[in-house]
Symmetry: C2
Subunit: 172 residues, 2 copies
Amino acid sequence: MSLSPAFSRRTPDGDAMERAICDHCGHVAYENPKIVVGSVVLHEGRVLLCRRAIEPRRGFWTVPAGYMELNETPEDGARREAREEAMAQITLGPLLAVYSVPKLSQVQLIYMATLDRGIHAAGPESLETRLFSFDALPDGDIAFPTVHWMLADARRVIEGRATPPFANPAGF
Amino acid sequence: MSLSPAFSRRTPDGDAMERAICDHCGHVAYENPKIVVGSVVLHEGRVLLCRRAIEPRRGFWTVPAGYMELNETPEDGARREAREEAMAQITLGPLLAVYSVPKLSQVQLIYMATLDRGIHAAGPESLETRLFSFDALPDGDIAFPTVHWMLADARRVIEGRATPPFANPAGF
């Protein structure tokens, strides 16, 4: 390797949008929205959260979730993230929500789940894992807006006030 | 540009998976699953299909659907595809299904929709558009397996036999 990465934004022949094109070789780096898969994991009425060991938002609480990999289903991805981030085996329930964050070109597929045998522990990307009562969530220390949304939506389902799946809250 | 695109598959430092890495400059081309957004569009009990003008499966019937673009929501993407492929303004209803095709690293977000004012016409990627009765679908000329799934699932919803959203049929 003798060169540095260098991309220019141009519209390829026959395309309708600007794409990132390598200055050296002409490779078109198509950029697509990314899928985050995750789950709101319940155990005896409480919800499993992970305190992030990595940036962004290191030290803040989130649910087990992350980027979907190639050649997996969203369901397998959600189970994988629970294993990786919370050392947890989970049983998936219904789809809780499809949220989108167009500014980040991100779509989040979030499932309801239950924790098998109540076992969880911090994986390499987590500082700690903990089960929280919905009445004592770490509201000021939640990592991302969508985590607020999914916890509120999960609570509405648990309390029988609404039926999933949800989308973004009004105005978002 | 003096070089040809050339990528090797290696595991970057600190990563857990092989990625496509440019032989010339070291750029890591992260590959992520792609999102297809689309809709089953109804009008007076019939469903809007488009006959594909492009490969793959040119000449076969599909619903208005395509790759989600950056910085849009899935809902906006589904409306855009209906405009582009069927010159149709649609009103989106509930999420019909989240299908995944792990072999293709593809996730499909399919919505129910209705056709505004009954107006539709072939866009540049369609040979023709047509409203089909569910009893007279072009079963032998459907473009993709997921189109069979979504038409069957939409029919179950319309006939009150099931509640969306659906995932892949059992065994797929």
